[in-house]
């Protein structure tokens, strides 16, 4: 392999956003037939450097080489022409169109859409790489995992030789991750070069031939794919990491229920019943984990508790307050802190970090009839410091890295000392340090007597944090169990809808 040049090589990439150096002389290369992982904390510059390689962002300095040839990347079109494909975390698919139409759009040069060609490519990909999708299916009806497959197909159908995947597994459930990895392995066997960005060290080790670590914009090391997790973690954060776990104290035996949900029914986005007879109490100082494969009512449950979706029947009570059908304002007034899984939609991207941090309670930040700009700023500076948000108070939230956007929402909620926390996928997309921090914050809220409902697809997270688990399947609670000494097989069966058969 030594004689051939890398499929993609970045040399001395530097990128500044104002005073912030997002990339500082980054050297990176990936060869055909290998998976090269890119690791780093939130805001380390992973997305930025790959956006540069894909022509979405222009570097201030440095060069990009494809098979040893310097190329000029002014837009993704140039990158695509050079055989580079990228799947970003937010997919760029046209939702109401079919898979075949989306693929054809991606290749369309003139006005004609070559649907036959698109269908052929879908069939071909299914044969060669085991990626199955229905070319006639509408994208909006596909699961996230399937949409991602369509994005990968789109890149492949443009004959890319380098495939960049930005946190592809953050949106996938465990089974889908395995399928993605199987696909990647066969693509790599076919000679493709893959860049894989992730925060999950176990995944990185499982799939990568080499690993590069970015810290605060600089490349700190490129190491072998089987380097152990401890070492990788300490390269990322500059110190060894410690797992955060719920203290094994069982807590008071009889917890006073704070959040009481009874016989809750709610319709989903398509009008079908998404929640059916959900009855659930969460006690003070208790974390109740909601396990389940995504799409089984978790989103609707969180929406209802956030005040964003009206239940069709049933009741929600916090303390003595009946909150059935309450709007977000009343939910917040009752002390519910809400962290849904879609952070982008829960914030106002074009407003600054400082404004977003106070948007829920502007009336606390006024001086007479005016908004008190100085106090809003001080508040923001304090939270930025406390939650280690890598951004300035005046930056629009939309310009932040994925993990930092998340921290903004977490800071907004947790800084208000909520007595009930409803949180979905709290650490998705967060780096190890931030994950530890968020988990310790949730445990701190628990110690302070808050009732916490934790929705997560990450079983390890549920097992580490929750006192008790409930399993949601097709909108119903199909099982409940304490976390201590949990029978993982039984949990898996419940999640798969196999009832109490096991």
């Amino acid at each position: 392999m030594t004689a051939t040049s890398p499929a993609l090589e970045l040399r001395g990439i530097t990128k500044r956003f104002g005073d912030l150096v997002a990339n500082d002389g980054v050297d990176f290369d990936v060869r055909g037939g290998e998976v090269h992982a890119l690791l780093g904390e939130n805001g380390a510059g992973k997305t930025t450097v790959m956006r540069i390689a894909y022509g979405l962002t222009q570097a201030d300095a440095g060069e990009v080489l494809v098979h040893g040839q310097r190329i000029d990347l002014r837009s993704p079109r140039d990158a695509i022409a050079a055989g580079i494909g990228m799947v970003t975390q937010h997919f760029a698919l046209v939702a109401p169109m079919t898979v075949a139409e989306n693929l054809a759009l991606g290749r369309a040069t003139g006005l004609r859409l070559d649907l036959d060609d698109a269908r052929r490519r879908v069939a071909d990909a299914a044969d060669r790489f085991g990626m199955r999708v229905d070319p006639a299916a509408r994208v909006e009806n596909l699961s996230v995992g399937q949409q991602q497959r369509v994005e990968i197909l789109k890149a492949l159908s443009r004959d890319c030789r380098v495939l960049i995947l930005d946190e592809p597994t953050a949106v996938l459930v465990p089974g889908e991750v395995d399928a993605l990895f199987a696909t990647l392995r066969s693509l790599v066997a076919d000679g493709l070069a893959v860049v894989f960005i992730s925060h999950k060290l176990a995944e990185v080790r499982a799939i990568s031939d080499r690993v590069s670590v970015l810290r605060r914009g600089r490349l700190v090391a490129t190491v072998d794919g089987d380097t152990n997790e401890r070492e990788l973690a300490s390269m990322m954060v500059g110190r060894p990491s410690f797992g955060v776990e719920r203290p094994s104290d069982a807590g008071p035996e009889l917890r006073e229920p704070v959040l009481r949900i009874s016989d809750l029914h709610a319709a989903g986005s398509h009008g079908l019943e998404a929640l059916a007879s959900v009855t659930l109490d969460v006690g003070a100082g208790e974390i109740v984990g909601v396990a389940g494969v995504s799409g089984n009512g978790q989103t609707e449950l969180v929406d209802v508790l956030s005040g964003m979706r009206a239940p069709s029947s049933g009741s929600i009570v916090v303390g003595d307050t009946d909150l059935t059908g309450a709007d977000p304002t009343r939910m917040m007034a009752a002390g519910i802190g809400r962290i849904p899984e879609d952070r982008h939609a829960s914030l106002v991207g074009d407003l600054s970090v400082a404004y977003n941090l106070v948007l829920e309670r502007l009336d606390d930040f006024r001086a007479g009839g005016r908004i008190d700009g100085r106090r809003i700023r001080e508040h923001a500076v304090a939270l930025i410091e406390r939650f280690d948000i890598r951004a300035g108070p005046d930056d629009p939230v939309a310009s932040l890295s994925g993990g930092n956007i998340q921290k903004v929402l977490l800071a907004r909620v947790l800084s208000r000392d909520p007595r009930v926390v409803v949180v979905s996928q709290p650490t998705r997309g967060l780096d190890i340090g931030a994950t530890e921090y968020v988990r310790s914050q949730l445990l701190e809220r628990r110690a302070a007597g808050a009732a916490i409902l934790l929705v997560s697809e990450d079983l390890d997270e549920l097992l580490a944090l929750a006192d008790r688990l409930v399993v949601l399947y097709e909108g119903r609670i199909v099982g409940e169990m304490p976390t201590t000494g949990v029978d993982v097989d039984r949990l898996g069966m419940l999640m798969a809808g196999r009832g109490e058969a096991a």
Binding site: F17, G18, T47, L56, T57, Q89, H90, F91, A92, L93, V94, A95, P96, V139, E140, S306, M308, D327, P328, T329, M332, R338, P340, H344, A345, S346, L347, V348, G349, D350, L351, S352, Y355, L359, E360, R361, L362, D363, F365, R366, G369, R370, I371, D394, D395, P396, V397, A398, S399, L400, S401, G402, I405
Partner: protein
């Protein structure tokens, strides 16, 4: 992203202006004039005498108001295309009230008429706003469709009950002297409506930028979902913005009746409501921008009519320049938005963005 927005917005607008000159040079040459001379006549000549300078302010008055009206609604994400109709309702109210308040001193007559006109404009804006908030019916269509209805109302009144009894012309009776807007400068047409416009813009700026209400309104416009999630009552915010917008547009109608015509005529507005959309867009939906754009278009309007006389080119070319200007501005600003979106992680899933436009 913010950097891009702040720094290059004025640059883009200026670019749009230059581009407009380039594009409209063709028609001007076809009309037999030298484009350079025409632009000088459009933009510079009106500023060279006191009379025309004051006329610029007179022409700017209604479009400063409709521009502010449109900008406020657009900032909230409420696409009010109905400023024209709301202006006409304000004019009807002013003409009606103006003829009835003859016994009152101006200190009472004027406020009654101004408030009445604002309420009439707001009332005309109410139904589309309710339809949008309650049933999700697209306000672009409803507000637009109500404009010709308002004009029919004006003409119905002028050809029916309000026809001038003395002349028999389709014009309403002259309003009472105490209801006429005082002029600001002797022997000019510049009336206190101009001061009202400036005050409205100042207050609107303060509210938008400095108050919680303004921040809520902006948040609702930028991300309705995110705003609702943060406890902002987006429906109420939209309703409030729509009514405010209607009221301000109504004031423009009051100014034309009480300050210029002193009666209701069917030609009371040559499309000031639509020009307001141009002003708001050109002013990038900010109040200082609206002020500048309103004055600029006022200049252009006065210039176009004098150029028609001095250079013998059709005065409609002024409207052509305005139309082209709207298109170039929108084109450049939209393109900027796409760039900004491409340069930063999108705030909304791109799938939805692509799907919606």
């Amino acid at each position: 992203m913010r950097r891009i927005t702040v720094r290059s917005t004025p640059v883009l607008v200026i670019l749009a202006v230059l581009l407009t000159f380039l594009i409209t040079a063709g028609p001007i040459i076809l009309a037999g004039a030298n484009p350079i001379a025409a632009y000088a006549a459009y933009l510079v000549v009106p500023l060279t005498s006191q009379f025309t300078l004051l006329e610029v302010l007179v022409s700017a008055t209604p479009i400063l108001l409709t521009g502010a009206a449109v900008a406020i609604a657009f900032r909230a994400g409420y696409w009010n295309i109905g400023a024209e109709g709301q202006l006409l309702l304000g004019a009807i109210a002013a003409a009606g009230i103006g003829t009835m308040v003859g016994d009152l001193p101006p200190v009472l007559a004027l406020p009654v008429m101004v408030v009445g006109g604002a309420l009439a404009g707001a009332a005309w804006a109410l139904v589309p706003a309710l339809l949008r908030v309650r049933f999700g019916i697209d306000e672009v269509v409803t507000t637009l469709l109500l404009n010709p209805v308002a004009l029919l109302l004006v003409n119905g009144l002028l050809h029916g009950p309000w026809r001038d009894p003395e002349t028999g012309f389709p014009e309403s009776a002259r309003i009472a002297a105490s209801a006429e807007f005082p002029t600001l400068i002797e022997r000019s047409r510049l009336h206190i409506g101009f001061l009202i416009a400036i005050a409205v813009i100042g207050v609107a700026w303060y509210v938008l930028v400095r108050t919680p209400t303004g921040l809520r309104l902006r948040a609702a416009g930028l991300s309705p979902h995110g705003a609702r999630f943060a406890g902002i009552n987006v429906s109420r915010t939209l309703l409030g913005a729509a009514l405010m917008s209607g009221a301000i547009a109504g004031l423009a109608g009051v100014g034309e009746v009480a300050g210029i015509q002193n009666r209701l005529t069917s030609g009371i507005s040559p499309g000031y409501g639509y020009t307001g959309i141009v002003v708001a867009t050109l002013g990038t939906l900010t109040m200082p921008g609206v002020a500048l754009a309103g004055l600029f278009l006022g200049d252009l309007t006065v210039g176009a009519s004098s150029a028609a006389r001095s250079l013998g080119i059709p005065s409609q070319l002024g409207a052509v320049v305005q139309g082209v200007l709207l298109l170039t501005t929108i084109a450049l600003l939209t393109q900027r938005r796409y760039r900004a979106r491409a340069a930063a992680p999108p705030a909304a899933p791109p799938a939805a963005e692509v799907a919606s436009g």
